[in-house]
């Protein structure tokens, strides 16, 4: 949910460039209004909510195990993160702890997911800069980690690695070998890409000094994940709040201080090296033992809890409330894109309109993750929030008017 008051009325003389919700340059729907003076952006607003799917409400009519798969589908890129945060929360409520081997396997999948997500983002970032060669080759290399994830978990996207109280599968010797070989190849390529983004003159023209966010701004705007770390804010949940998952293994903070787009590229690429190191460390010190706890209750004790996991884009936050039944009473999800979106509005002001797509891509936005509630703008310009019942009724009446069922 995020609505910022429109900067202008029709009487104003500002020139406003609307972008989206359907726009060829946006891969997902979001609506932006940029007020421009010539080519310079003077004001920016965003309206989100076009891919609201009612997932949080949906969780209230499904049991604890079914919700795992529903929540996993919030995001197609960081699907494991959502499952991971959810199972951690439910396990806290049920007062069970996943066996050490299961925790290690969850972490391996989480880090492999980070690798694929950062490679994906590198490609998208390069594409927005018009550097399609980098886009194509980084996505070619990303297939290596996608294949690893597929052979490890059984699917390329929604891995379904977690179950309540453990994981579904083990990592055997052959898979360990495959992962290590894959990582060696990716590491070599990552060195090359780091050189390219740090040295390619034409690419640096699009990134160096563009969208600079100072450390103070980053703190004020409350940005998370690599976006914060590129501005020198040491914020990484793997280190700040390791909780049940990162206790056993040491993670180093990757920080850059420049705060511009180039720093956001560098911080994510350096994050990849850290992920490779973590995966290798876990695989060489894999704890022995069971994959699932002996007894996971179907009814979860009444109570409420929060759980947080460092997604590739930053902090994924889960609030879970149970009333002691087979279904949750309330689940609230906050994804990192929502935290980072405010920075786009601030950073685009004073920049060229042509740099806007790059600044937006710089936070690695994921729209469908963060769309949670519907704000309705009446023709009079008045904005109001709708309740679930109102949205439902509107949907039914809309389709009745269309002559549907």
């Amino acid at each position: 949910m995020m609505t910022v008051a429109a900067p202008t009325t029709q009487k104003s003389e500002k020139f406003i460039v609307p972008i989206g919700p359907q726009h060829p340059a946006l891969k997902e729907p979001g609506h932006f209004e940029f007020a421009v003076d010539g080519e310079i952006v003077t004001d920016a607003t965003v309206r989100l909510g076009y891919v609201h799917r009612g997932i949080e409400k949906g969780t209230e009519s499904r049991n604890w195990a079914q919700n795992l798969y529903l929540l996993e589908r919030i995001c197609g890129i960081c699907s494991h993160t959502h499952a991971f945060a959810y199972v951690l929360g439910v396990e806290q409520l049920a007062e069970v702890e996943a066996p050490p081997r299961a925790r290690a396997i969850r972490m391996v999948v989480a880090e492999l997911e980070r690798v694929h997500s950062h490679f994906l983002w590198l490609g998208v970032g390069a594409h927005e800069a018009g550097f399609d060669t980098l886009f194509m080759y980084s996505w070619r290399d990303r297939e290596t980690v996608m294949d690893l994830l597929e052979s490890l978990t059984g699917n390329r996207v929604n891995y379904s690695a977690c179950v309540l109280g453990g994981v579904k599968f083990d990592i055997n010797g052959e898979q360990t070998k495959g992962i290590l070989e894959g990582l060696d190849f990716l590491e070599k390529r990552t060195h090359h890409y780091l050189n390219v983004i740090q040295q390619d003159a034409l690419f640096l023209q699009r990134t160096r000094g563009v969208g600079v966010m100072t450390q103070q701004q980053a703190r004020q705007l409350g940005v998370v994940g690599p976006t914060a770390r590129a501005s020198g804010v040491a914020r990484d949940l793997r280190i700040d709040a390791p909780g049940q998952h990162y206790n056993d293994f040491n993670v180093n903070m990757i920080l850059e201080t420049d705060g511009d787009l180039a720093a956001r590229f560098v911080v994510r690429i350096r994050d990849l090296f850290e992920s490779y190191r973590i995966i290798r460390e876990i695989l060489s010190n894999m704890p022995e033992g069971d994959l699932v706890v002996k007894r996971m209750p179907r009814k979860i004790k009444a109570g409420e809890t929060i759980s947080r996991v460092e997604a590739p884009r930053g902090e994924a936050f889960y609030y879970i409330k149970s009333n002691g039944s087979e279904m949750p009473e309330r689940i609230k999800v906050r994804t990192p894109t929502l935290c980072n979106m405010a920075s786009v509005l601030t950073l685009t002001v004073g920049q060229h309109l042509a740099d806007v797509p790059m600044i937006l891509v710089g936070i690695d936005p994921c729209f469908s993750c963060n769309d949670r509630s519907v704000t309705v703008t009446q023709p009079s310009g008045q904005r109001e929030h709708w309740t679930w019942e109102q949205v439902r009724r509107f949907g039914i009446e809309y389709y009745q008017r269309q002559g549907g069922q």
Binding site: L68, Y69, F131, G154, A201, L204
Partner: protein, 141 residues
Amino acid sequence: MRIGMMLGDVLRALWQRPVTEKYPFERREAPTRLRGKLRWDPEKCTGCGLCGKECPSNAVEVITIDKKNKRFVMRYHMDRCTYCAQCVQNCRFDCIEMSHEDWELAAANKESFTVFYGKDEELDAFLDAVSASDLAETAVS
């Protein structure tokens, strides 16, 4: 500061085979853990129904014909299935597995997405009963 830093990759790629596979003309073997079409073994099933109870998309139904003599039929909705393998995880008797060979499941008609599993004689009896009741319903409406 340099320019054309990806040029080396492009030139090298000229002498390499394309990475893209020409599916469906070239087929790569699917990994053994791939979650494809569900398979059910009626011999081991005790009819506890835990597979259906936690299925996120209600794709699995175990239909009891005769509980005493352990006669069950499974109706599996391939189109609803999200291929998460929670049913495989829940089954304590190892009678459900997901095939890594059957994964090209597209079809032009909807009927072929509903699959029945079971021993032959039970399946025949069950399907006869289902089609009879279907006919009765059509007659009423």
